[in-house]
Amino acid sequence: MLARAHTFTIDGLQTRHVTVEIDIRAGLPAFTIVGLADAAVREARERVRAAILNSGFEFPGRRITANLAPGDVPKVGPALDLALACAVLAASNQLPRERLDSHALFGELALDGRTRGCRGTLAVAEGTRQAGLRTLVLAGERAREAQLVEGIEVAVAESLASAARVLGGGAPDAVPSLAPRGSRGSSTIGPDLCDVRGQQHAARALVIAAAGGHNCLLSGPPGTGKSMLAGRLPSILPPLGRAEAIEVTRIHSIAGALAGELAVDRPFRAPHHSITTAGLVGGARRGWMGEVVLAHNGVLFLDELSEFTRPALEALRQPLEERRIAIVRAHHSAIYPARFMLLAATNPCPCGYAGAGERCACSEAELARHRRRLSGPLLDRIDVLARLDHGVAHDLGAPPLMSSARARERVLAARERQAQRLSDDGVTVNAEMDARMLSRHAALQESSEVMLNKARERGMLSARGQHRVLRVARTIADLNGNERIGARDLGTAIALRPDASLAESRAA
């Protein structure tokens, strides 16, 4: 007596189609699972047995062999429970078999027979469509997530008994109504930019960075509001588009961070500086995603940048450059998308008061160490530097600079212009323009042309530095509504560039 059911297992961001084959024969009662199952799947035997018995079915007292095909793909997680249970029921003739070929089953079983939602439902729903299966049977709590995928039917089964009913041709359970959530619909979330007093320069730099998707570094002494400003970045970023939201939902659903519906807010990840390299880029074990992946389509905020370990910062180079991260380990390899905006904050020196000389207690060697950690390849990939200072008294009493809503309007308008211009190039924001696109889209006015040539002659800008300045200048021109980059746009971009012209006289 043989029965077959379809389900999926998650491998990185991909789903792999798994066929559960159950064979029941005469022999001593036993339940064996073969096919590279991990601990959670092997424990499924006990859950499946209890759930079947508690749902009023009979558990066959014979020799049961379950094979999870293909045999070379590791199967992880408890989501195979439902498929195992249904296949056992079909193999023992308690369930008609014909619908098992067109239904995918995905869910964990409780001992009383109820189903639970599992991570990665959205990815599984996409997999169901790709595998040509018609219906996905799953727990109600994740149904909305699965419904985001068009072209398949989502059947809710709140228990094993319901699933058996669906497979027997009965009606599925109703999709549960959503729990009210404060931020639904409108995506303006978190603190508002109007809480910030003073720091005009930095706030505007942040708007520029948000408008062009540029990586940004906030530098300033402690207590000037670096973290405060950073926390307000999500409120001025444009809301997620549909395609972006699906990507974010898929990633966060697999990571287990999101429960059951489409993501509304851009991810804002702010890992502590004690994070390891594997924590940042992923790869600690199979399918483990790092912060750069979780920040996909959102913001990765690194506070106290210079406190991060050097290997961790170095590991950011590939994702910043290629906007994806390739993880290759001994037993697994995977490529994840990692298109995020890097926002970093740092003190100018270890004690935080460097520059004026009066209060700084750092030795030149400490400063050199601090700068070495910041400088180099990582700083090379940061486009905008915003310097924060202790505000003067009247700054703190001044009226708020701008509200997040207004700033976001400007950002949206600038992004609109970028999207129109870049529509043929396959990128969406200025920060992603390469040299070829720059030469086409970053047209200079005469005065700014002269200025750029002068900077080049003086050796102030390297080739890469020049590209960065032009990208930022293009964004500023977009914000100001200029068709060609003017002298003011370029001048601002040069003043915002992160490299120091004094650097060469200090490195030793």
Binding site: G357, R458, A487, R488, G491, T492, A500, S505, R506
Partner: protein
């Protein structure tokens, strides 16, 4: 003990080598005995017997025996490092004083050292923990001096000393660097590339033989050598503390001209320079002032007034911005007042930076810098100074 004639062409005389060996042996004890200020120069002025007597301690007898049995082979010689003792003709004449080191280990060539020391040498010293302003001043001073053919003498320390050397290297100028320990080991890993560069284009000098690690007393001893070798000692930025003003004290003791670069009065890091100025040190505003000090009033003849012109050509907008930056509003955040147009301001900053009137420090801080010299000027200045160099050398200074 009579001065032996050297036993090989490359080696110095046995007496001076023995002295260098003794210093290496006593290095740790010297460090300990010189915790109190001022004793070092006196100690180093003692002859071998007295020095062993003074700080030999329990090892006195053993040291005496080994001192008597010393063979020049005991000092290991390293390729590329020559020894030059005071009995050699090429030994810098400025150093021929009783308390100057009798033997120098020279990297970069004895001939070159002789040539550099015969010309004008300016010592540039100061705080290890300098401000951006101090570093920029040190580097631009050194640049100007090196471009005028003056040798910059300094130590291998962070801060002012390093900035001076980097400044001199920017215009391929000559430098003399005095190391606090053996030439091959005194530079830490991070400074080794710089040290190699200094050795290629100038001279690296030490009083201690190769292989002897640097100790604290080595820094003060190096400063003594630097000051003794130089015609003028410039303190670029120093705190008002005995440690940071040690070089100034030595210069005063040797009777060498002392000069200092002023800073902001409110900055404690310039306190030492201001104290020196109060005590009569010459005020230095730029390389021209140092040249004045070296050559008297010759400057008017060879440096026309054109130097001030880049300022005069500025538009009022740029001038106002530059003045504000000079007055301490050195970040865009501070510069943006309520009435200012932000784009205009950032444009002005960028334009000034493009003109070379502003430099951008770490963390987005601006500071004024000397305008770059017009391209045609330096060779003329250099030639004029080379002529005067010859005159000074023949007058036996």
């Amino acid at each position: 003990m009579a001065a032996d004639v050297d036993d090989g062409a490359s080696r110095a005389c046995a007496q001076c080598l023995r002295r260098s060996w003794l210093l290496a042996e006593l290095s740790a004890v010297l460090d300990y005995s010189c915790r109190a200020d001022g004793r070092l120069v006196e100690l180093l002025a003692l002859d071998d017997e007295q020095l062993m007597l003074a700080i030999g301690g329990r090892r006195r007898e053993e040291l005496k025996r080994r001192h008597a049995d010393f063979a020049t082979g005991e000092l290991r010689s390293v390729a590329g490092v020559a020894e030059l003792c005071r009995h050699d003709r090429r030994y810098p004449r400025a150093l021929c004083r009783s308390d100057a080191p009798p033997l120098l280990h020279v990297g970069g060539g004895v001939e070159r050292l002789g040539r550099l020391a015969a010309g004008p040498v300016v010592a540039m010293l100061g705080s290890r923990r300098a401000t951006d302003y101090g570093l920029e001043m040190a580097s631009s001073l050194a640049r100007g001096l090196a471009a005028s053919g003056v040798t910059v003498a300094s130590e291998l320390c962070d801060g002012i000393a390093l900035a001076s050397q980097q400044g001199a290297l920017q215009v391929d100028g000559a430098t003399v660097t005095v190391m606090p320990g053996g030439i091959d080991v005194a530079a830490s890993g991070r400074r080794r590339p710089l040290c190699e560069r200094l050795r290629r284009s100038g001279c690296v000098v030490s009083e201690l033989p190769c292989g002897v690690p640097a100790r604290r007393w080595g820094t003060a001893a190096a400063q003594r050598t630097i000051v003794a070798m130089a015609a003028v000692t410039v303190i670029v930025e120093a705190e008002d503390s005995p440690r940071e003003l040690a070089a100034a004290r030595i210069a005063r003791a040797l009777g060498r001209p002392l000069a200092a670069v002023p800073g902001r009065v409110t900055s404690p890091l310039s306190g030492g320079s201001h104290a020196l100025l109060l005590q009569g040190a010459r005020l230095i505003r730029g390389a021209a002032d140092v040249l004045d000090l070296l050559y008297g009033a010759r400057r008017a003849a060879c440096a026309p007034e054109a130097a001030a012109s880049p300022w005069a050509e500025l538009t009022p907008r740029l001038k106002a911005t530059l003045e504000k930056v000079g007055a301490g509003m050195d970040t865009p955040g501070k510069l943006i007042g309520e009435h200012d147009d932000r784009g205009e301001l950032l444009l002005a900053l960028s334009e000034l930076e493009l003109m070379g009137l502003l430099a951008r420090g770490h963390g987005g801080r601006y500071l004024p810098r000397d305008p770059p010299p017009p391209a045609a000027c330096p060779p003329l200045v250099e030639r004029a100074h080379r002529r005067s160099i010859g005159r000074i050398a023949t007058s036996g200074r």
